[in-house]
Every structure is written in structure tokens, then in C-alpha cells.
């Protein structure tokens, strides 16, 4: 944790033309500024695994800002706007999703960027999150979340630990049969799409 490195990373972000890399630099800056480790999830994580086709609107971080850290974020150039902390020099909006990361913390990746590094949710847990979110839509539908699951699977299937994915869904089937059944159905659909793509 180093405020001076956080400042350096934010300065690098402000001069960075690439949108995805700018998000990563801000994530790395937050990691230096905050007392806990914020983990990149959502669109930026999806862009990381898919080669940036998603176009994230904000930087979703699992974590929180402690009351005594709000002043530090303001000193670093962030302003609180609704649910976001907005960094006007880099034009990046950061949203903190309170709580802890769902899934296996040992699968979190630490990617070097600029003079720091960003923590990113593991590819399998990102996929499972997209599958879980899809269950909130009518059966058989293909919302953005489902496309996100397919995108991650197609882009990075070699990196997947599919046994882990299956085990997590099985655990959900045992603990929450209704959600588990829906997750299995969405997962099977996403897998069929992946197999179709692999045969093309």
C-alpha cells in the first residue's frame, strides 16, 4: 500500500489513450490506496479475458471504501457521484460492490500494469457470475449476461478449469436447488454454444 504509487498510477491513467488499460491503471491505483485489496469484476474483468470487446462503462471493484479513506480518495482526485467514485482526469467511474468475492480467492490473478498491479477475479468465477445473473431472466433468453458467459468461454476455454465450474454448480444445486437447476440449464446452453464454435 503506497499513496505515492497510487498517485503515479493515476497520473499514468490520465495520459493513457487506451480505455481498457486506463481502467486497469485505476484498479491498480485503488489497490495501492485502500487498506484492503479491491478485486476487478464485471465488465473490466470480461474485457481482460475477451480482448476488450465488451466496452465497460465503469470499473466494478469488489471491496469497500472505509470512512477514513474517503478523504484520501478525494485528495487523489475522485469525487463521489451517486454510486460512483469518478476520477475526472482519467474519466473513469469506479463502483464498489460491497462484500467479498464469490468463489475461490486463490484463482484471483494479479496483473502488472504501469508501476503497480491489479487484482482480477478468476475466469471461472467471472463465468459463474455471468451464469448466475442470467438465471434472473426468463428461461432460454440471451441477455447481455449470457452473451458475457459465452464470450468468456469462447475466448478463454483453454484456461478454464471446467471441473471447478461443475463442482461450484453442483454445490449450488445442493444448497439452493432452484438456483442450481437454473444455473445448470444456462451453463449447458453456454457450453453448447462453445462446442458449436469449436466445431466451426
Amino acid at each position: 500500500m503506497s499513496v505515492s504509487i497510487a498517485k503515479e498510477l493515476l497520473a499514468q491513467a490520465s495520459d493513457e489513450p487506451d480505455r481498457f488499460r486506463r481502467h486497469m491503471l485505476v484498479a491498480a491505483a485503488m489497490r495501492e490506496a485502500l487498506s484492503h485489496e479491491p478485486v476487478v469484476v464485471g465488465g473490466t474483468a470480461q474485457d481482460f479475458y475477451t480482448g476488450a470487446v465488451y466496452v465497460e462503462t465503469d470499473l466494478d471493484l469488489v471491496g469497500w471504501v472505509a470512512p477514513d479513506e474517503e478523504g484520501l480518495l478525494r485528495d487523489l482526485g475522485f469525487t463521489k457521484t451517486g454510486r460512483h467514485w469518478f476520477h475526472s482526469a482519467s474519466k473513469i467511474a469506479v463502483e464498489f460492490l460491497e462484500g467479498t468475492i464469490a468463489g475461490d480467492k486463490t484463482r484471483i490473478l494479479h496483473m502488472p500494469v504501469g508501476s503497480g498491479s491489479a487484482a482480477i477475479v478468476g475466469v471461472e468465477d467471472l463465468y459463474l457470475d455471468r451464469i448466475r445473473q442470467t438465471t434472473m431472466y426468463p428461461p432460454g433468453s440471451e441477455p447481455t449476461e449470457f452473451k458475457g458467459a459465452v464470450a468468456v468461454a469462447v475466448a478463454a476455454y483453454e484456461d478454464f478449469d471446467w471441473k471447478y465450474v461443475d463442482k461450484e454448480i453442483k454445490t449450488t444445486e445442493e444448497n439452493d436447488p432452484s438456483l442450481g437447476k437454473d444455473m445448470r440449464e444456462v451453463h449447458n446452453r453456454a457450453r453448447r454454444r462453445l462446442l458449436f464454435e469449436l466445431k466451426r
Binding site: 462503462t57 465503469d58 459465452v150 464470450a151 469462447v154 478463454a156
Partner: protein
Amino acid sequence: MGTTQEAISRMEAGRRLPNVSFVDRYAKAIGRSIPLVFGESRSASSQERRRRVERALGKDAFNPWDRNPAPPEVESLLADGLTRERFDSQRTAGASQR
């Protein structure tokens, strides 16, 4: 090298998966060393990942304006020239190609 021409042809064409002993004899027969690498990451490059997703879902699968961006997100998108019109025209072009 103690094998048939047919077996060598099958291996060279990728129709037979040779064992390590076969590859060793083959390397000696052609007078060249053949490096074998195990455990190396097979991860696709960023460009390859992008190509795969675009092939599977099309170039217009993800439109940030569909996600009802909040004011700071709108400012962020517009700062990069990612206007609603740009994505709408991409979607129209994608639909006409399909």
C-alpha cells in the same frame, strides 16, 4: 529407424500421435533435434480472443448504451468518443450484413 514409411507419413500428416521413443528415432533419422515443450500456457492472444468472440457473437453484441449508463459513465464513454450513435450505426451495419 525401424518403422514403415506409412507410419512416418501418418505422423507427418498429423493422423498419428507418436510416442516419445518414435519422435527420438525420427529426429535421429532426419539428423535434427526436435524440442518438446510440456506444461506451457496455451492461452490465446488478446487478438485471437477478440476474433473468437466476434465470430461467435458478432461485432455488435455488446452495446454499453443498452446498460443505461449513469451520468459519470456517460461522461466516461463520451470522453472516448463512444457515442450512442456510433454503436447504433454499428448495430445497423451488423444487422444488414446478417
